[in-house]
Symmetry: C2
Subunit: 230 residues, 2 copies
């Protein structure tokens, strides 16, 4: 028996991720709580992390669905896949402090480096090219991917919204890692994980959030993105 | 009677653009010919421009649908809306040379500054932030917008493809100009023009083309983008 090469494999043939524990760093923020809630409801074991274990525990109790809360380091250590949903300000410092716990883990960066002024949102320049590339630079032993940039925290957290009408662009340099993240995204009703390139092309995906904020303002919407012909 | 302010206006209420003449600079390239063909079939008067009037005339004759061909300067002078579909290499020089002809015109930049290597496509850094911002910088009297970055030339040029399943993100700082470009996009079956922010947020929309090239490679697709909840 031979294993098919990556190029030969069906890109829709994704691994079973049901048994993986998902950690969410910054799990008490809007985006973090929203993702934790949806993944837990989909059946995933979810741990949210925060600087304060107490706050994480309270947030987890409020979310229900079996979500646990603890400090960021324990969250990272006990999870198989770790979503980074912290504010851009402090992103690098937190990841540097968790380098040991995140070694070998699949890290999913969903941070959008953005500024706001009276004309709306705009993307901030990042020395490494993107938040995800910064994560990869400071976490050389982790398997860094980028995803979940554009999903509306409002919709994620609204229990009346049954299905999230959006694709999740998943980026990364290691096929096995992006496959897992695509599969995770696909567990949330309405969502689909679509491979969208290597980490060096993550900056524009992060920055596109500023455009979706403009869309939301103009159309009074919670805009998402679908990739067509896929 | 009072005129509603921009903020009060329905963003789906777009002007009638049927009588506008559309020029396409770089109209003998794949993207330029594709857009010219679709807009002409939709009923728009279209002029394609090229450095060589002869080549433009030949390309126009091949496209049919009433498309005319001429040199770039005449194309710019005789059009109401001018799509810039030239290669990134030479973009600035061409626009500088047409400053006079483009004064007061709606300019639609659809150029994607990109490089390619064995790992695929990647976005090139642009001093002004984006091709569209470069256009605005060298054309201070023009009404510069950005749009049509992601549409597949292959699909545009295939007469068997009746409908293009994609939204067109339209960017610009002047509402009246972006409204016209959205309306133009909406004339092509399947397409919809969606306002997606100011010119300062054009860079990531241009760069997203690199991601769609990754999608196309992985899924053997001609990927487009839809904005959901709009």
């Amino acid at each position: 028996m031979t294993t098919p090469s990556n190029a030969q494999r069906d890109p829709r043939d994704l691994p079973d991720v049901g048994s993986l524990v998902v950690g969410v760093l910054g799990g008490t923020g809007e985006q973090g709580r929203g993702l934790a809630y949806r993944l837990a409801v989909a059946g995933q074991k979810v741990i949210i992390g925060s600087r304060s274990a107490d706050r994480a525990e309270s947030a987890a109790a409020e979310l229900g669905a079996g979500v646990r809360g603890t400090d960021n380091a324990t969250c990272a250590a006990e999870s198989d896949v770790v979503i980074v949903a912290v504010p851009w300000d402090g992103h690098k410092e937190l990841l540097v402090s968790l380098r040991e716990q995140l070694a070998g883990k699949i890290v999913v960066d969903c941070v959008n480096p953005m500024g706001f002024d009276k004309q709306g949102a705009y993307s901030l320049p990042v020395e490494e090219g993107s938040a995800a590339q910064q994560a990869a630079a400071v976490l050389p032993e982790a398997r860094v991917t980028a995803a979940f940039h554009h999903v509306s925290a409002v919709l994620l957290l609204d229990p009346n919204v049954e299905s999230l009408d959006t694709d999740i662009m998943v980026l990364g340099d290691e096929r096995a890692a992006t496959d897992v993240v695509q599969a995770l995204a696909g567990r949330i009703p309405g969502m689909r994980g679509v491979f969208a390139g290597r980490l060096r092309n993550a900056g524009q995906v992060e920055a596109l959030t500023a455009n979706l904020i403009s869309v939301n303002r103009r159309y009074k919407a919670h805009a998402g993105v679908r990739i067509t012909d896929v």
